[in-house]
């Protein structure tokens, strides 16, 4: 198996680029906490409304700099009254579903979370700019999928 000299140059360049990409995302993810949404917590999908923190969805302040927003997703909407959070503070989103798979996606942010029944998805995000952000479901969930949306106000 003989590689042409130029093919070697190309592969070295290509593989080096891939290593750089991986290092950039890896370092940013694991040392600066920029991992994608996820989490290993589970929940009984039929008892969501009786299980903390989803028995009391909405915004709660955890400490001076941290807020938690708990959301229950269902076909075709989100149960979380009065989503108002401050800019510049860490917001921890916790979402689960009572029925099928959904997403909890906030337009123009890094918040793009899959919501899987039986699992709790977590994502931490800090809004920089105040305003009203569109929330939508981007995982097909049925006839009303394209109607499934909401809004969060950042003040």
């Amino acid at each position: 198996m003989h590689l042409h000299k130029y093919e070697k140059i190309w592969l070295v360049f290509g593989i080096a680029s891939l290593i750089v990409f991986l290092s950039v995302v890896g370092v940013s993810a694991f040392s600066h906490d920029h991992t994608p949404s996820g989490g290993m917590d589970t929940i009984d999908p039929e008892k969501v409304n009786e299980t903390a923190p989803f028995d009391n969805p909405g915004v709660s302040q955890l400490d001076d700099d941290t807020y938690q927003v708990t959301i229950v997703a269902m076909a075709f909407g989100y149960n979380a009254p009065e989503m108002k959070v401050p800019a510049g503070k860490e917001i921890i989103f916790k979402v689960t579903s009572t029925d099928v798979v959904h997403s909890f996606t906030i337009d123009n942010t890094k918040v793009n979370m899959m919501v899987v029944p039986g699992q709790i998805t977590t994502k931490s995000y800090t809004f920089e700019k105040p305003g009203k952000y569109l929330i939508l479901c981007n995982e097909y969930c049925g006839t009303g999928h394209h109607m499934m949306s909401s809004e969060i106000e950042v003040y």
């Binding site: 198996m1 190309w10 589970t42 997403s103 899959m114």
Partner: protein, 550 residues
């Protein structure tokens, strides 16, 4: 020309492929018009039904039947006429696959399975939809084993020899397919079917998703590798050169067996139930599978340059003008390759761990697979169709067909450029995929997405309409070359199977030692999946009952 009986198998497969293509592209056309609110569907038909049909018929049915037609023809040509058993099992495989297809399609059309082609639980389709899917997979297995049997018979007769490159690549693709299907077979047989028929009450959703994507990513390589076969084996012949390097071609295919499977988590990067460690490990493995594609890119350009220089090209890029642009069999595949450059680059972005949050489930993804499977793969198949059907029917590929072929590929190119560019940009802006008309109550952010010239609904609709026009021209070419074009009588009228020569004297024998590659493949799958899947089973939350939300 290959034996008549083998030709019949190939033609039957092509026939089904293009029947699916016809309905699938029609469903595509309807979608763009529903999305921009220009079309109201009758009450008995809804957007998601059409979307399911579009995905299943084009991505699954068209590709698979076409691939088996190509394999059947190429295997018969490169390692000899099928024996009676191989032929029998090829037919059994064909009918079982077709039966499964019809069953699943009937369920979709009758509105009992608007679950899209990913059929994520706990959306619960009719049990017969899943039975149809299972039969489809089992049918492809029967056809696959028929081809493997044919290959093994050749190996027994030619001990100590490497098989012809076409046969080697066919078997590589099939081996990958068989290993990949284990995931979808496991979830459909042991999770979906018992649950859909009510024998079990609930389903482990996260497990079903992971088993699906264990299958889902190599599935895209099952589409891509036959296209790569055309790039490695057909294109050099059209250029008048030999295969650039037999050993590198085999090596790149072997790497696809190893690295196309243990990577499914990169479709699940933003979901719970899989820890970051395992997600990132599979991201790294995903990046490994880019390497054989980098090798392929080099080989393709080298073929072009060697061919051009043989014809007397000078300078750095003189060879480019010397390419056989007037040959629609070549130009189609060249455009297919060109589309794969941004297509592949987009794929690297999708798999880049947290970057996935920018694009996941947005229209970017839709744009992405239209410039991977929808053009590089599909247009390669079109380029093959131009000679494969007349080769099999013994008809001519007339001058007017050749001209029409050009119109077809150029319209496809324009339509796809408009539609996919618009989808990529819309996706980056945040517009979601898989939605019917989406205005979100005229939310300002949603209105903004569609404000640009390139991102307007009009651009997408124009693109979609041009694509449909192109698809209909192709259907005309298919029907003509299948049934109506004049029969070839003079030797020069016969269409050839353009298969390039490949020097394998210097190819190391271990490249065809399947035990090594299958062994490593399973080891990698075990490393990437054993612990996270075990965890999903052991620490499973109470399961989900089914929902019919459409």
């Amino acid at each position: 020309m290959i034996a008549v009986k083998d030709r019949k198998i190939a033609l039957a497969n092509i026939g089904v492929a293009y029947a699916a293509f016809l309905i699938g592209t029609l469903a595509g056309l309807l979608q763009v018009f529903i999305r921009n609110d220009a079309l109201q569907l009758p009450a008995w038909l809804d957007y998601y039904q059409i979307l399911t049909a579009h995905g299943v018929l084009l991505a699954l049915i068209f590709t698979t039947f076409f691939i088996f037609a190509f394999f059947t023809t190429g295997m018969s040509k490169s390692i000899g006429t099928f024996g009676p058993k191989v032929r029998l099992y090829s037919w059994v495989g064909f009918w079982v696959t077709l039966f499964g297809t019809v069953m699943a399609t009937v369920m979709i059309v009758s509105g009992k399975a608007s679950v899209l082609y990913t059929f994520y639980a706990p959306l619960k389709a009719s049990g017969w939809f899943y039975v149809g899917l299972a039969l489809f997979i089992i049918g492809t297995w029967i056809s696959s084993f028929a081809l493997i049997g044919h290959y093994m018979a050749w190996r027994r007769k030619n001990k100590g020899h490497l098989s012809p490159l076409f046969a080697f690549m066919t078997i590589t693709t099939i081996v990958m397919w068989l290993i990949a299907c284990l995931g979808v077979v496991a979830t459909v047989l042991f999770q979906y079917i018992p649950w859909a028929f009510g024998w079990t009450d609930t389903i482990n959703v996260e497990l079903s998703r992971s088993l699906f994507w264990y299958f889902g990513h190599p599935l895209v390589y099952f589409w891509l590798l036959p296209a790569y076969m055309a790039w490695y084996l057909i294109v050099p012949k059209l250029l008048g050169v030999k295969v650039f390097s037999d050993s590198l071609a085999r090596l790149s295919f072997v790497l696809f067996i190893l690295f196309s499977i243990p990577v499914g988590f990169h479709h699940q990067l933003t979901e719970p139930g899989i820890s970051n460690f395992w997600k990132f490990l599979q991201v790294v493995l995903t990046f490994m599978v880019i390497v054989p594609s980098l090798m392929t890119a080099f080989t393709m350009f080298a073929n072009f340059e060697i061919s051009g220089r043989k014809k007397g090209a000078v300078g750095l890029f003189g060879w480019f003008r010397m390419l056989p642009w007037k040959d629609v069999r070549f130009t189609s595949i060249f455009i297919a390759m060109a589309f794969f450059i941004p297509g592949g680059a987009g794929g690297i972005i999708n798999a880049s761990f947290q970057l996935n949050e920018v694009v996941h489930n947005t229209l970017w993804i839709v744009g992405h697979f239209h410039i991977t499977v929808g053009t590089p793969v599909a247009m390669t198949f079109m380029g093959l169709t131009f000679w494969l059907i007349p080769y099999l029917t013994g008809r001519q590929f007339t001058k007017s067909m050749q001209r029409l072929g050009f119109v077809q590929i150029i319209t496809w190119t324009i339509g796809m450029l408009l539609m996919s560019t618009s989808q990529h940009i819309l996706g980056l802006l945040g517009a979601p995929r898989r939605t019917a008309y989406a205005g979100y109550n005229n939310h300002p952010s949603a209105l903004e997405w569609f404000d640009g010239i390139l991102t307007s609904h009009v651009t997408m609709a124009v693109g979609g309409s041009i694509l449909f026009l192109s698809a209909m021209i192709l259907m005309y070419i298919v029907i003509m070359t299948m049934f109506l074009s004049p029969k070839a009588e003079r030797p020069e009228d016969f269409v050839e199977f353009p298969l390039a020569e490949s020097d394998k004297e210097h190819t190391p024998k271990f490249l065809e030692n399947w035990a090594i590659w299958v062994g490593i493949a399973f080891a990698l799958i075990f490393i990437a999946y054993a612990i996270p899947i075990g965890d999903m089973i052991q620490n499973a939350p109470p399961g989900s009952k089914g929902f019919i939300t459409w």
